[in-house]
């Protein structure tokens, strides 16, 4: 097992290098002059002096050299300074990451809690009314642009009826004055979370239900399920003990890939809900040509994705011994 994990981790290295190279090249092509945007538009620093700064920062060297030095800094944890937030990039990323995690974690939990039972029930009564309803539901869910759905919900629940807050993560006055109690803070953040979590979990629900359903269907048609049934086991035991366990395997893989995708997709929702998450940091960085911020955020997303894949592989290896041998 350890050998398997070690091998998978070693395989990650070229992938990570390739991704970091791609990130570097893309960001290098972004418009914007680091020195110029650092000094601010219309500063009266002479071009000669700017050139000196550029040389001092090593910005005049060739791309491969700059890439290597950047990679070296990233690996040692030095992500550089952000211009728009005027703070260390690592501080910013760790400051915002938890807000994103909060959103994604709850959405995923809710989506899974609904998707698994629904998927199993759809699979057991294939093409029944329940299954058909959820087939249509997932089709709509997959086809709906999440940000548009979010806008509609905000319009109805926040703008028209004012039941829920429109955007943000906290009521700003309360946040500034300080919450009277932890409970008040949880309630405030919670009420801000209802809409984004609803949209995000509905959007994952559509896909996750489908995956669970299909993988359960596949398992139900296997011989050992017939054997279990013919032994006279209760249908519940057959489904939940024999079928579902095995149907879980493909689901684990999906989850490994789903978590990073969830984070990526949440960028749109964070924009709509003005949720102070990592996606908004990226967008703000892109808009303000804050290159070190953009690079670091992209590296974060890349690492998340690669780790997700690794997690999927490893847990798959634990669950299914056959994978390890291969």
């Amino acid at each position: 097992m350890l050998k398997f994990i070690g091998k998978r981790i070693l395989q990650l290295i070229p992938t990570l290098i390739a991704i970091s190279l791609l990130i570097f090249i893309v960001v290098d092509f972004m418009p914007g002059d680091y020195v110029q945007s650092y000094l601010g538009l219309g500063s009266d620093v002479t071009p000669e002096r700017q050139q000196e700064i550029r040389e001092l920062l090593g910005l005049d060297r060739s791309m491969p050299i700059r890439y290597l030095s950047w990679l070296g800094r990233i690996v040692t944890g030095d992500l550089g300074r952000s211009l728009v937030y005027s703070d260390e990039v690592s501080n910013i990323i760790f400051g915002f990451i938890w807000n994103s995690f909060l959103l994604n974690f709850f959405s995923l939990i809710i989506a899974l809690c609904i998707a698994i039972p629904v998927g199993i029930k759809s699979a057991v009564k294939k093409y029944g009314p329940f299954d058909n309803f959820f087939t249509v539901f997932s089709l709509l869910g997959v086809s709906m642009p999440t940000f548009f759905f979010a806008l509609l919900l905000i319009f109805v629940f926040a703008a028209r009826f004012e039941w829920l807050p429109m955007s943000g993560m906290q009521t700003s006055i309360m946040a500034i004055r300080g919450y009277p109690s932890l409970w008040a803070q949880i309630r405030d953040v919670g009420s801000h979370m209802i809409l984004p979590v609803t949209v995000l979990s509905l959007s994952s629900l559509a896909t996750l239900t489908r995956y669970t359903r299909n993988s359960v269907i596949e398992v139900i048609n296997q011989d050992y399920i017939r054997t279990a049934r013919s032994k006279g086991l209760k249908e519940k035991v057959v489904i939940y003990k024999h079928a579902f366990r095995n149907a879980l395997l493909p689901l684990i893989t999906i989850l490994g890939m789903w978590i990073p995708a969830l984070f990526g997709g949440a960028i749109l929702l964070e924009t709509v809900f003005i949720w102070p998450g990592i996606g908004r940091v990226l967008l703000r960085g892109i808009r303000n040509q804050d290159l070190s911020l953009v690079m670091a955020t992209l590296v974060f997303y890349g690492v998340l994705r690669v780790l997700g894949n690794l997690l999927a592989d490893i847990s798959y290896g634990i669950a299914d011994p056959r994978v390890r041998v291969k």
């Binding site: 992938t15 089709l139 086809s143 548009f148 924009t271 996606g279 990226l282």
Partner: protein, 395 residues
């Protein structure tokens, strides 16, 4: 000639012609109600975006090439010059800087709302602009701008109108008919979807085909590469690449979106095609082509690929739905198709403005609904095609 043919058909006993795979697929497709609904819906939308913009007047067509801001910024200075406003280099620079800031970008809404240039250009600004020659110039600028806009097909006094008999879906912030933009923007969104799906499918098929057919080191390398591309975070990378390609003029930004979507989404199909080809390669008919000495290209494209065509078609259809959603998302973030070129995504972008979001629903709800209808019908079509073309169920 035809007589002989007729003769033959009458003399020979009627023979049951075996149905070809396409015929079978078509028959199955016809019986599949879901696919038919999807196909019809999609066809209607395509027809709509082709025909409906043609009904509208030529004036609106001209507004597609220009933003109200761009329309005036270059011409307004000339007109000011004619009106006798003294324009020196410094004025020009200040004018363009402020103009860009105030008019061309998001503040344009405020500009129209107030309809008073003097409000944006405070008296002080105007004083600065005209170096003391303040009286009446604000009005001159305003009038010049309006006259120029009209010459370019914009009717600012008609902006923000709710749906009416003349404008079924109302007008937008720059006084243009929303229905026209909706269907014209539909062209853009559909073209983006179609081209992205084409690019994805071509890349996926070629890589998967080559990889599966040649195997060995090339296969290992290509699949490793596919794996790497697959581990790139999709949306963040698309945003960054499209930001890095800002130099592309606005009427070509749709190609940027196509490029970004296409180069990042091919690995899925490549893997499927490779897997299929790996198993097909070992079958007898491929041994036959080898013995017959048929060239590699012909073996891949004429003998192997038709066998995986079903997968390719289905993945192209579903990929198109995905690409339309991605375009919408990118444009909504302001990183996709750039205005003045309308697309469904960048029409919803207007909802970022709180007045539009709360009051002018006709500007942002129709494009969202259109995206949904399109993607639903494309997905229905794809699912239907998958069932109809599934080779396992044909026999």
């Amino acid at each position: 000639m035809s007589e002989i043919k007729n003769d033959q058909t009458t003399t020979t006993t009627p023979r049951l012609k075996p149905e070809g795979p396409w015929k079978i697929a078509w028959n199955r497709f016809k019986k599949n109600k879901v696919a038919l609904v999807g196909g019809t819906g999609f066809l209607l939308i395509v027809l709509g975006v082709i025909v409906i913009p043609m009904i509208f007047s030529f004036n609106l067509w001209r507004t597609m090439e220009l933003d109200a801001g761009t329309a005036i910024s270059s011409t307004v200075l000339d007109s000011l010059d004619e009106k006798g406003v003294e324009i020196d280099e410094e004025f020009e620079e200040t004018f363009f800087n402020r103009f860009d800031e105030v008019v061309r970008q998001s503040h344009f809404e405020d500009f129209i709302e107030q309809n008073e240039l003097d409000d944006i250009y405070t008296q002080e600004d105007i004083n600065q602009l005209f170096a003391g020659e303040a009286v009446g110039t604000g009005r001159i600028i305003r009038e010049t701008i309006f006259v120029n806009l009209r010459a370019h097909g914009f009717e600012l006094e008609n902006s923000d109108q709710p749906p009416s008999r003349e404008n079924w879906l109302g007008t937008d912030r720059q006084g243009r008919d929303v229905m026209f933009r909706l269907f014209y923007g539909g062209r853009i969104s559909l073209i983006v979807g179609l081209l992205s799906a084409t690019l994805t499918v071509s890349l996926g098929t070629v890589v998967g085909g080559v990889s599966g057919y040649y195997g060995g080191k090339l296969d290992a390398f290509l699949m490793r590469f596919a794996e790497i591309v697959q581990s790139i975070p999709l949306l963040p990378m698309m945003m960054s690449i499209s930001a890095a390609m800002r130099w592309v003029p606005s009427e070509r930004t749709l190609l940027v979106v196509v490029f970004v979507v296409g180069i990042l989404s091919w690995p899925g199909l490549a893997r499927v095609v490779r897997g299929q080809i790996l198993s097909l390669r070992e079958q007898e008919f491929m041994q036959a082509t080898e013995i017959l000495g048929i060239s590699d290209v012909s073996r891949i494209f004429r003998h192997l690929l038709p066998n995986v065509l079903a997968y390719i078609i289905v993945s192209a259809t579903l990929g198109m739905g995905g690409a339309i959603l991605l375009e919408a998302g990118l444009s909504f973030l302001g990183l996709g198709v750039q205005p003045p070129m309308p697309s469904w995504g960048n029409m919803i972008y207007l909802a970022n403005n709180s007045t539009v979001f709360r009051e002018y629903l006709w500007m942002w709800i129709p494009p969202g609904v259109m995206i949904m209808l399109t993607v639903v019908s494309v997905n229905l079509l794809g699912e239907g095609l998958r069932d109809a073309l599934d080779p396992k169920e044909i026999r």
